[in-house]
Point group: C2
Chain length 322, copies 2
């Protein structure tokens, strides 16, 4: 019997989840819940969010595809009162608080929920716990990119006379190689990543001033070396429409003898939202199974035995993947 999935939210992440479910034969998409006007959406699975309670008992796990800034802090606790959920809450500082809240609700309302799946947090967290548990003496480094940062692109778009913009975060190769060498370098923010911006401006815009404003923007750009390129809307649309991303988690450690050991994990993602939603879908499978065992409350990727992510049986996993 297939796992019945609901999707809440139909932005990039929700669309990615819809596609990812199609790639998993043991799953069935029951409905997509949205706040949008349904008449504009040509999709028979679409249901207005106001009707979500009617699906109680008909959906095993809800994949919550809202944003972490304003949607998920309210949405996850609310929907967790009726359904098992998975979310990608990625506001790192607030994860413990989000977890506690959802855990309490899950236990009270007897649902099982998993928060902060995705790749960072999520897979990166998995690689960190694995590598520091195996190599307790050492250093862990994370690099992000090459990829589009939505937050930084938005920040540029808020500047006057800017029509559109795309910002790429780029890990600096020489810093990566310094880490790989096992020298355990101390790296400043500026030494780790470069920021490359493609900006479309009004004809009347003062490009020199805009470039300066971007480069000196506190929190976003001031601590980085930033490259600003002014291009046309046509160029932006043609060459920068994708949402690639990725990154690296590296741990360089030492055995007691001083012997160097390195673990490195690399993601190169053609589409950030499609990958993130693929992770959510795999964890939805785990939530369904662990919930079937009677567990309630809240989990993170640290609490899930990896066998729960796979549609294969334990015996098949031992035979094929060990």
């Amino acid at each position: 019997m297939s796992i019945k999935i609901g999707i809440v939210g139909y932005g990039n992440l929700g669309k990615g989840a819809e596609l990812a479910i199609e790639q998993n034969e043991d799953m069935e998409l029951v409905a997509i819940f949205t706040r949008r006007d349904l008449y504009t959406l040509n999709n028979s699975k679409m249901v207005n969010i106001s009707e979500i309670e009617r699906y109680k008992g008909k959906i095993d796990v809800m994949i919550l595809c809202g944003g972490s800034a304003t949607d998920l802090p309210k949405q996850t606790p609310k929907i967790a009162k009726t359904f098992n959920t998975v979310d990608s809450f990625d506001n790192h500082v607030n994860i413990p608080q989000h977890f506690e809240k959802v855990d309490k609700i899950g236990k009270e309302f007897e649902t099982l929920n998993l928060v902060s799946a995705g790749w960072d947090p999520g897979l990166f967290s998995i690689y960190k716990i694995l590598s520091e548990s195996i190599l307790p003496v050492g250093n862990t480094y994370s690099f992000w990119g090459e990829g589009v940062s939505q937050g930084h692109s938005d920040a540029i778009r808020r500047i006057e006379d800017v029509i559109d913009a795309k910002q790429y975060t780029i890990p600096i190769e020489s810093a990566l190689n310094k880490v790989r060498s096992g020298k355990n370098p101390v790296l400043t923010t500026r030494e780790k990543h470069l920021r490359k911006c493609y900006v479309v401006v009004e004809d009347k815009a003062d490009k020199v001033a805009i470039e300066l404003e971007i480069k000196n923007m506190p929190n976003y750009f001031d601590e980085y070396d930033t490259e600003v390129n002014f291009i046309s809307q046509k160029e932006l649309d043609e060459n920068h429409a994708g949402m690639p991303h990725g990154g690296y988690v590296l741990r360089t450690g030492e055995s007691k003898t001083g012997t160097k050991q390195r673990m490195e994990f690399v993601l190169e993602l053609g589409s950030n939202p499609e990958f993130t939603s693929s992770v959510l879908v795999a964890y939805a499978r785990a939530v369904k199974r662990i919930s079937d065992n009677g567990q309630t409350g809240c989990l993170t990727v640290f609490d899930v035995p990896l066998a729960m992510l796979s549609p294969k049986s334990n015996a098949t996993l031992r035979k094929e993947l060990l």
Copy 2:
């Protein structure tokens, strides 16, 4: 209270485990069990294997450091009758059978055991299950090296007039890059790895004949491009004394839209046995904890929630690593 560990076997892996335990503050090495003559070993923890039963109740987990060919198939089932165990059984084809045997004994004698930890099987298995669960449409590739293959070095040493030898398995960079490109190439054995041999021979040896014998050795070398270098024992001792190894697990997948996604995992190990034993030590921690929850039988790396590997509390893990 620290986790009380016993080590069975004092070869490279056992020595590595002894060192790794020193790097973990929540662990205490109680005893090392060996078949060797104790008078030749200057180590106060050393106990003859015949006395192992006397340690019942004094050791939480036994780390079994024997070889997979002849030691572990007998040792794990035997010791699992009295103690919780972790082993690195790596004979892939026989893992299901080994698991079943140990699982039955664990359930009967109320011990908990984890088999086939290490990096392959072990970490590589983890990366495979993660990547194929997240990217169900795609291909997984494994490469090994650059590193010393003990089995291939031994095979060369068995040739007449060969005094000593070391064989390095080397992944072929162009094949790695073809995989990384997402082209999902079909690669022959010869296209993936190169074998490089350093061989010390008797003065009277027929080098041409030995080189031919190596290159055509069935199962070991005949399917590979092999390079044979004759060197002196002094050179071998000075430049080839280490036991480096490592490898790559790559999965290149596609979202439903055809967008390419790549996950890559890299290990670069200065010492293969020291790293493998570090993995065993981390899994010994997990076995102790899961056993404390009352579970018995046999586990693999697929069954262990990752939080169990870390000495940190769940709350600390969520705060620091998510």
